[in-house]
């Protein structure tokens, strides 16, 4: 079920109503049924894969706690759980990629190998396997008690607002809340509603409308003028941001309606002054997952520069292939990692000048923001391209077509949507839409609701753009 579908418009109010009408002890059951329904709306069979992961990690949690004193046994259960979960992820997400590369290598060596792996990637697999793993790791570390109620644990993995595209929750936050008794609070309804309409606006009005032009550019770059290709690349930056931020915001709002607080996934990332800061603001739940479970165990930043650079590259390459089993994602991740290292190396030699004047600080900050945004936009082309040939075509056309090629014929309304989005993003710097609204007078708040709802209905794209992160 998509958040921007009529099914969800009907589904969500029913679930919220049932949630408040039912006594606390029955709520998790209803939410679990709702979450299964939500997930099975896509491809029903995929739920079996989820079930396998849930059973393994649930059992591992209990067994690790049971054998808390026997370190060897505890570690064994931990490894079994992590390896099994990773194996599920590997089979469905990476096996095809590995196979294709082995076949290509064999063919290059004139060996007659021609195997194919044709498995469909279950929706949101990377998200819920990471969520499952965070539970197992936390139980292993002793930070989290093992969940005894199989239903509630299943709900932790399958909670519908964040099931398919995150945010990737931690047991310390979500699992705890699933046990808490929630009471009806108008404030939660109001904030949830605000977040949902804001999320729908950025997904349906901004991301989907610019997405049509992005598709045109990437489908046939050589057809377009260089300026339009540049524009298309910038549009993709806003498309992917609007798309993913929109989804996360709707997820946040949907959970908030029932009193659940899930992790913020974005914090005005395009206003970041460096690549490092960008990753503190973009897909926060994934960045913190890698920080806590990969980067810190590798030694984090409390090591020599060379080792730190290695740690960073491991995290970013893993982050790249987490997104997709393809070389372009790996290179995209590695490029971000390298840039992060270069930035740090430069900063080490050129430390920040202190006591800047106000105007000078604004100019320097604006320059840094623009630099980071340009680099991120450039790297997004690796993320968006369908193949290396596509990337090559894009950049060749970008260089050669300044006096050739067609124009996109962008509708004026697109600039209004983008302008409004950028304005809101700047206004929301280090803030969240629902909280930002709290400080506005009622008339202003309702005017904003009116404009957003009207634009969602009247100005949204009619083309069917699935959420980009669904493929991960």
């Amino acid at each position: 079920m998509l958040f921007n579908s009529i099914e969800y418009v009907i589904f969500l109010p029913i679930v919220v109503m049932l949630f408040y009408l039912l006594p606390h002890r029955f709520r998790w059951m209803m939410l679990l049924v709702a979450s299964c329904t939500f997930y099975m709306w896509f491809v029903p069979e995929y739920i079996l894969i989820l079930l396998v992961t849930i059973i393994i990690d649930y059992s591992a949690g209990i067994l690790m706690e049971k054998h808390a004193d026997n370190h060897i046994l505890k570690r064994r259960y931990f490894r079994i759980s992590i390896i099994s979960t990773c194996l599920v992820l590997f089979i469905f997400k990476y096996l095809g990629f590995v196979n294709d590369n082995i076949v290509a290598l064999c063919q290059a060596l004139n060996l007659n190998v021609n195997t194919t792996v044709d498995l469909i990637l279950p929706i949101g697999l990377s998200f819920h396997t990471f969520q499952s793993m965070s539970y197992v790791i936390e139980v292993y570390r002793g930070n989290q008690k093992a969940e005894r109620n199989f239903g509630i644990y299943s709900l932790y993995v399958m909670f519908f607002p964040q099931l398919v595209t995150g945010p990737i929750e931690r047991p310390g936050n979500l699992l705890r809340q699933l046990h808490e008794e929630k009471t009806f609070d108008y404030d939660n309804i109001s904030k949830g509603f605000r977040l949902i309409i804001f999320g729908l606006f950025i997904k349906m009005v901004v991301a989907d409308n610019v997405g049509a032009y992005v598709d045109m550019i990437y489908a046939e770059p050589s057809k377009y003028n260089s300026w339009d290709i540049i524009l298309g690349m910038f549009f993709y930056s806003f498309q992917i941001y609007g798309d993913f931020f929109g989804y996360s915001t709707i997820a946040l709002g949907s959970a908030k309606l029932m009193g659940f607080n899930i992790t913020d996934n974005f914090n005005t990332p395009y206003l970041a002054k460096s690549i490092a800061e960008f990753w503190h603001r973009w897909h926060i739940s994934l960045s913190t997952w890698f920080r806590d479970y990969v980067y810190f165990p590798l030694g984090g930043s409390h090591v020599k520069f060379g080792r730190w650079a290695f740690n960073i590259m491991v995290v970013f390459v893993l982050s790249g292939i987490w997104h997709g089993a393809a070389w372009n994602f790996l290179i995209w991740g590695a490029a971000h990692g390298m840039l992060h290292i270069v930035e740090k190396a430069i900063l080490n030699h050129l430390p920040e000048k202190e006591n800047r004047g106000k105007l000078e600080k604004i100019i320097v900050d604006a320059f840094k923001i623009a630099k980071t945004f340009l680099l991120v936009t450039l790297f997004w082309s690796l993320f968006r391209a369908t193949s290396f040939a596509n990337i090559s075509d894009l950049f060749t056309s970008l260089v050669n077509n300044f006096n050739a090629g067609e124009h996109l014929g962008i509708e004026n309304s697109i600039w209004i949507y983008l302008g409004l989005f950028i304005l809101l993003d700047v206004l929301l710097f280090n803030n969240r839409f629902d909280k930002w609204c709290d400080n506005r007078p009622t008339v202003v708040r309702w005017t904003i609701y009116f404009i957003l709802i009207f634009m969602i209905i009247a100005c949204s794209s009619v083309n069917n753009f699935p959420f980009i992160y669904f493929q991960f």
Binding site: N4, S5, M204, Y449, F450, I453, F454, I457, V462, N464
Partner: protein, 340 residues
Amino acid sequence: MKKLIYRFALLAALLVLMNWIYGTFFFKNDLLKHSDEIQLTWDVVKDSCVLVYTGESSNMTFSWYDTDRRKISDFVFDHFPNLRCGDISKAASHAEVYYYLLENIPESAPVETVIVTMNLRSFGYGWIESELETPIQKQLVLLKDYPPLFNRFKLAFKAYDMSTTQERSKRRAYHRNNDVLTFPYEFPYRTNFEWDYATNVKGIYNDDGTRNQALTTMAIAYIQNYAFQISDDNPRVKDFDNIVKLAQKRGWNLIFNILAENVEQAQELVGNDLVFLMRQNRDYLVNRYGDIENVTIVDNLEAVEDKYFVDRDFTTEHYTEVGRRRIGDNVAQAVKIYYY
């Protein structure tokens, strides 16, 4: 809770205001952008047409050898020089599209007689579940008789049949495999699929004993497109029923134009069994709609010979000048009942 109800009431009031703003300032542009065929209806209304022809590609496809490349509708209109006539034709349209386009003609318009194309093939699941159906369903959303903002909401939240190509293909296959064909005599194949499969295995052969793949493919196309039996729950029948109701409500004379099919070639390539089904389906339509007041059926099923069909590699209702003119003349005879 009281606060919530108060807020919902305010939201409802704002939605009414939004509907007005959208209907007044945005709707017309959206219609032209997302349901451009509405322009055809607007033209008919603007021209104060009395006689309206609705159709699909059969109306406008011509042969390059034709000396007169006008549409079937033009040949009909030739007979009524004193009437204001207009046509609403768009390729790949079917009865549901005609219904919504006709419904958008305001009640105050002077329309008296409406000719609606009845394409036999459009009753088959090959067309009902065609890949073109999803874009067609999308185009129809804004044309429906609901408040403009509600229609735009449905379009934005994809509240229409947006089945994927695979889903439609699956449904087509389901009907081909499961809709049982009944004959008043013994017939070896139970379903469209069995018949099609057997024809493929059997093949059509040239005099020299070699398999003629082109003719075999054509024979299969005939079976796939015509080997079905129209029943009361056929979606297209419901659409035509709605058109009848609309015509009765508006006081229009209604003429259903059963298009000519290449019965001659169907008989030659597949045989009498397929022609039996084509005629049976025609009879079903004649019996269902023929006796309704102010509804006339023009039976053109066998009015055009093989040589007057344009396409030679697929089953279509595209005619040369002679075919179009003949159908036009037949329809005109039915229209004359109301005017002479």
